[in-house]
Symmetry: C3
Subunit: 644 residues, 3 copies
């Protein structure tokens, strides 16, 4: 089990660095992420490298048996770079050229940036290719900077040529006959910058796709350099999660040796555990397409804080360990934290750390030591990487982006939120689901939920049809399949791409106001309702006016369900639970997740509640060393890992 986190020795004098290694030893840390923001220290002037200090750091870590995830520092170019290359500073949609003074302030399409990034990555690869501490390459940090400059415009046009082939195809895909936007020359095309009124949503959607692909191209360049130097060392980058992130990680997963995510829950209560489970299940869903599958890694989380509602919430004693085990239960290869030691200054000076400002004589560091011991005790579970999941919830980045456009029937549509609602309903039911970012290899699942999967290509719709006919249970939420991959509405009745499969025809949408609700024959909904006509399906729940609300269509050996409103959470849980069949039967707030390796299995039990609970389990609790026979008493806030 990997254990450790981000380590920034460049911020500290030597005696503190020496103490760091000693404290890491005490905490049983085995992986330190080094160099993420060290560019200005590693290359203080263009092409002049100073590796001596890093040599010392890596040697000391290696001497203690601590491995290193060595970062390329390209997320934060040094001041000398920005001064020399103002054209490589990003520009907002309003035309504001940003200034140096933070991190992430670069234009990924600027040749100067790309070559400077490759130079430092190459130098690092050559310097440390044979260092015994080197275990993993950590490229960049949280790719996610959007730029609207003219260099970006050029790159965007190149990408569009590639994607659409011809201007005719682009004009068609973007519906440029609307508002007189037909392009007669590629040179006329711009990123979506500030304009007088509503932008073209297809242009915005393609620009987000482009940004993701352009960032990916920059990652790939670095990866090639690193792979060339160290073919045996895995390469990854840490995915950052958030609705604002202009990256489609499902496409990236194929390109990293190990899917690694940063995750910071935002709710101080139980919802944080649900958020974390969603993030973990998403990472696992992405990891299906990664060479490192099925493993993934929680690369960053905060040891002792949840940032929520404008303030830092202290994690309660024991919560850090329980959340770490929860991530491992769902497939993480360990628990890494941002960060090892709290900084004295800088923009994040109060960000939590395993060694806080108060120093090692602190609850947090004592918990870090205890966690290190626990992870050693459950080390054998590292073999069990397969998590049982035969249910999937789709979470499709392009659909999420398309639903962020203005001018939609409701401005409260949020694909991520709908996906999280579906996932939460299953979580409460005790059902472990993969959250999948592409509609591929569907046969792994017996049930798939499509929550507001607005964009569906013909191929995707066809794949879903085949899978249902072969026995799958599809639950499509409203707006799924309404548009094609370019965001064009499919005509003749909603939801065009799935109409036949679902056996319904939706004539009209009726979005609801913030206070409005609709009552069904059983349960209630909000946000949305529709006029649904049955064309083969049967109504399972109806609106009070008699119109179908939730329908089922038997197709081949499977079933295609349609949900035309946003069901209240208990109603959604009931519906999805019934379609999935079975339920864990655990008390609310208690999780049970199993990792497997062939015949062997480890049952992770996590009690997120403030009460003690008895839960069914049989085997050896690795954390306590006690045998368990049918029932395990799980104390409030505690966890168990039972070798079955």
């Amino acid at each position: 089990m990997l254990y450790g986190g981000d380590y920034n020795p460049e911020q500290w004098p030597d005696q503190v660095q020496l103490q760091d290694v000693e404290l890491m030893r005490r905490a049983r840390v085995n992986l330190a992420t080094v160099g993420v923001f060290a560019w200005s220290r590693l290359e203080p002037a263009p092409g002049r490298f100073e590796f001596g200090w890093l040599d010392t750091v890596l040697d000391r870590l290696a001497a203690q048996g601590i491995s290193v995830a060595l970062a390329t520092p390209t997320a934060s170019p040094p001041p000398w770079f920005s001064l020399a290359h103002p054209e490589a500073l990003p520009v907002t949609a309003d035309g504001v050229r940003l200034s140096h003074g933070s991190r992430d302030t670069y234009c990924v399409s600027a040749p100067a940036y790309r070559s400077a990034a490759l130079r430092i990555a190459t130098a690092l690869a050559e310097r440390y290719r044979d260092h015994p501490a080197l275990a993993l390459w950590h490229v960049h940090n949280e790719y996610g900077t959007t730029c609207h400059c003219d260099l970006t415009a050029e790159a965007f046009r190149r990408w569009l040529r590639e994607r659409h082939g011809s201007l005719e195809a682009l004009n068609d895909a973007w519906t440029t006959t609307f508002w007189s936007q037909e392009y007669s020359d590629w040179a006329q095309i711009r990123p979506p910058r500030a304009t007088q009124y509503l932008p073209n949503p297809a242009q915005v959607l393609d620009f987000r796709r482009f940004t993701s692909d352009e960032l990916l191209a920059a990652y790939r360049e670095q990866r090639e350099v690193l792979k060339a130097a160290t073919p045996g060392v895995p390469v990854t980058t840490n995915f950052v999660l958030g609705g604002w992130v202009p990256v489609d990680h499902a496409r990236w997963a194929r390109e990293v040796d190990l899917v690694a995510i940063d995750h910071y829950p935002s709710d101080p209560g139980l919802e944080a555990e649900v958020e974390a489970a969603f993030a973990a299940d998403r990472a696992r869903g992405w990891a299906r397409h990664s060479p490192g599958a099925p493993a993934w890694l929680l690369m960053e989380t905060a040891p002792n804080l949840i940032y929520t509602g404008g303030r830092m919430h202290t994690k309660e004693p024991g919560r850090m360990a329980r959340q770490s085990l929860a991530a491992i239960a769902r497939g993480s290869s360990g628990a890494l934290f941002f960060q090892w030691r709290a900084p004295r200054g800088g923009a994040e000076l109060f960000h939590s750390a395993l060694v806080p400002h108060a120093g090692p004589d602190s609850r947090v560091f004592r918990e870090a030591v205890a966690l290190g011991e626990q992870l050693e005790r459950i080390a054998e579970a590292a073999e069990g990487v397969v998590v049982e999941a035969n249910v999937a919830v789709s979470c499709d980045e392009p659909s999420a982006w398309a639903l962020q456009a203005p001018g939609l029937p409701s401005d409260r549509l949020d694909h991520h939120d709908e996906a999280r609602r579906a996932h939460r309903a299953l979580w409460r039911r005790g059902i472990v689901a993969d959250v999948i970012g592409t509609l591929e290899r569907l046969s792994a699942y017996r049930m798939i939920v499509l929550p507001g999967h607005f964009l569906l290509s013909d191929a995707q719709a066809g794949g879903l049809g085949d899978w249902v006919a072969a026995g799958g249970r599809l639950v499509a939420g409203f707006l799924s399949g309404v548009a094609d991959e370019h965001g064009r509405v499919r005509l003749g009745g909603y939801p065009g791409a799935l109409r036949e499969l679902l056996g319904v025809r939706v004539e009209e949408f009726h979005p609801l106001g913030p206070e409005e609700r609709v009552t069904l024959t059983s349960g209630t909904g909000d946000l949305w309702s529709e006029t649904v006509h049955l064309e083969g399906a049967e109504a399972v729940l109806s609106y009070l006016d008699g119109g179908p609300a939730v329908t089922r269509h038997k197709v081949g050996r499977g079933e295609a369900w349609y949900v035309s409103t946003r069901l209240d959470e208990p109603d959604l849980e009931k519906l999805l639970g019934e379609i999935a069949g079975g339920a864990a039967g655990l008390p609310p707030g208690v999780e049970a997740v199993r990792r497997r390796a062939g015949e062997r299995s480890w049952l992770f039990l996590l009690n997120h509640t403030a009460d003690d609970h008895d839960v069914p389990a049989t085997g050896l609790d690795l954390l306590t060393g006690r045998r368990v026979n049918g029932s395990l008493g799980l104390r409030a806030g505690s966890a168990a890992v039972v070798r079955e």
Copy 2:
């Protein structure tokens, strides 16, 4: 009766266009607005025109007897134009040069834009001057783009020279002695751009007047070209309504052959009907100064949606027809919709249409067909264009702009809102009022309400005085007449321009906080209160401390009332009703409006409520063909048109 709407054949393949004409025939559409956003299709490269497709469209429509409102497409320049003329892209007050990517993205002061607009308008005029379908020229679309660029600055200075004659006069009008702003050279003057603190309100006010006049000049240029080619075809442009619109439509009404408005109510409930009545009565008020008077035209409204609170509200069955009849009742020459067919893509892809995404097999299209039949049945009422209104509410765009300045006694002052409150009170009382944008030809009215008419010139004040002396009943709300036409406060006691006429002297304003109310001897008010001294008037209602709140001054044969607080709506309704005398006596939510043609009259009855009502009427109900004798049973949500 005109019936139809915006039609964008350029978005559709030929077979859809063929279906369109067939469906229009079924719906009895007789007017289609064509070409509004077709510039990139009509002129795909500078000076290269492609009219073939439009010839086909117009020929087909003509063949079906459908007339065309042919638009000049100048509201949305094509990409090639913006690429060639970046100086013709608008600039915000912050200096952001906007980009192509939406509609309305042009600087009206840019010579390149003006000449390109004239070129396409001229080409259209020459091509279609003799086409049998051509019934109306529709110039541009919803003029309303403000720009702050240097070309605009030049035009602004030219306009200011014209308006003020000399720098001395401008310095005086703008009170530039305040904050050291005296101009010593015209070149020093700029549009009001982002500045360090509060702008000069007189500069802002003149810039809004300038913007309106500059847009008007662009309209006039196109009109002249069209008139030269087709002297007999009326020319208009569609006015867009909204507090943000930088256009004083009262000045424009003189320049259009037919006042045409676009109106989209924003409340899902009964208030939408009041909004629509206000818009109609405003259009009729403007139309008094138009060559086409007294007719006006509802050029755009949404068939099946009200955009409200961030989401689209579906219009209830029958509401589209009832709202169409309500507009016609108040003088519209018909009912035109945006739009004929819902688009597949683009920024407004979910905007409602007579032919929705679901196609003609839909409630909406069936209602469109039914409405076409109804309009044929009431065709004779097209002759009756005069609507009875001897009460007026003034709504003065410059006053509204002036009250949007920062630094006023309250930041919740809103002239449009005050005008709407007064109009709503009369509407509830069953009194049909004109909403007038200039204080001219007052003798048409026996009562005029001035709600927060902040700016009053000496001439305007004098005209009101003469009209009162001759028997008019004036009801002036607080802040009316406080400032002159340049926004300078008239000294010696408020409201300077009307002090003598009203027989009061206001010593102090006492704006109220959001939760505060004042109690009067009868009724209550909020937002505002004052210290009022009687100087000839008598107190009709008083504040609890004894000071006058509502006063009446008998002058000659008339009365001048003053209302120094914002009366609650029932109190305002009571007061205005009593001053106006008489009331329709209809149930709340039921409208009765009469169109006349000489001796003939048609009574429009509209039941906006969810209950059936019996209403007094005698004649022939054209919609049902039934005779009505003294009382008509009006079903919930229905309408009747009675030939009296």
Copy 3:
């Protein structure tokens, strides 16, 4: 007693100016501030001066015995200046170059601005050096414009060289190892402009310090010119109060001959009086370091309005006089108002004035006359400038700025607010406190409150320690002393700089959500709580979990208290009252403040409530001329000034 206010004769024709002088005489005005925004009138073209009109104004005032505070008009450059020197217009952090059109629109680092300002100041000094009316130089107005342009960047770099000496020291102070921000050349440093993510808080803090010092340098230049011409005439500038102001007035106080403040309370109720008392006590605290100490001057306040919640609140009858006496009670040398006469136009056309729009026949002007009489009656109290205060509340601008950074444990931290809470608690207790902007000359006090004094240098902490050991009572609020002067956290446990003095070690912060509260053994708190370990101190109040919340550490002859949460106001009042000892015992809302001159003293009694109260007093009430023997009946809303 000084009495008068801002007077802008340049806005008025001659006959109004003649009336002004007559009305000033009636109101017993003795000081008029002239010329604040008259640059465009004084210098209508570069280097061409027109002083004739100002000669007339000053002569007339002098003839009436009215003195003049003559302003340099440099806060509002005329249009010709901005047209000629666009580089002297300020630039926002987003890079927007602002335009002329308001006031305060200049870049203080632009050489063109600095030399133009000196030219007009020099011309005024030479013209009026011997004028009999000249009593005070009023430099500029409310210094406070921030700029981010390249000229500013140069000046910022010069200031940084001066402050830090070397790039190494700067890199260390700014913790630039964080996020790869190490500077290798001064040229790389910029003002904090728009950047991709969180800025470096040390850069932001230094930029605010720089802005304050750069503005101060501009003030000093003008002062030198004026002093050279008129060595005997005091020079000042009016400090503007507000959280947004980029000026550390504590540093400025040393440079003005008389601390002068502008103060506009923002609450319509009793809180306005507390705000005013805080402002007065702050001015007095600053004045300790001014040559004119201990006097200070209320240079601007509004006669008849409080701007609150988006609207103007009329001051109740008598309130203007009572508030004036309240300021004088706390040490003001008089009562000056913005402004003498309400303007006809301009951005502040409804700002209140002693002569309102309604003219002299008005309540406000009658109150102005009455106030003039009252001030004459209490003229002798002008001698008593020392106000009794042996308690101090610190209010440290750099700490306030540092706590405005993003990324802190809570986004609701506000040093000014904490200082105001402490001051309010003392005010309610009847304890007069100085509000001090530097931790100097502490021996004047027996008790000092440090509310969230985030930044503490070693020297400051040492000074506090010495003072406590010598008998002082320190009450440190949470976050005080956590960081050094560069905002770097002091390690090993909070609050580093004061840990030993307070005898506590804080291990963790626990910020609270908006609705959260903590219960103590007595009382409650919100916003913040901590894990506090006792290291010498004793717990006076504890959290419910037993941890110390409020502690006391006896050190030498003094006591060092620590308050680790935000106590509710009654609890804070109780705590501070008990530590301070004694209390006035007056009814809530009644103030008693004493001015002294050696043995003589004057007791100011102010009844801000709506009830009559008997208050203890003995002597002669100068306002009524009545003898007072032990008890004075103070009518609701009234004031008394008792010569003791």
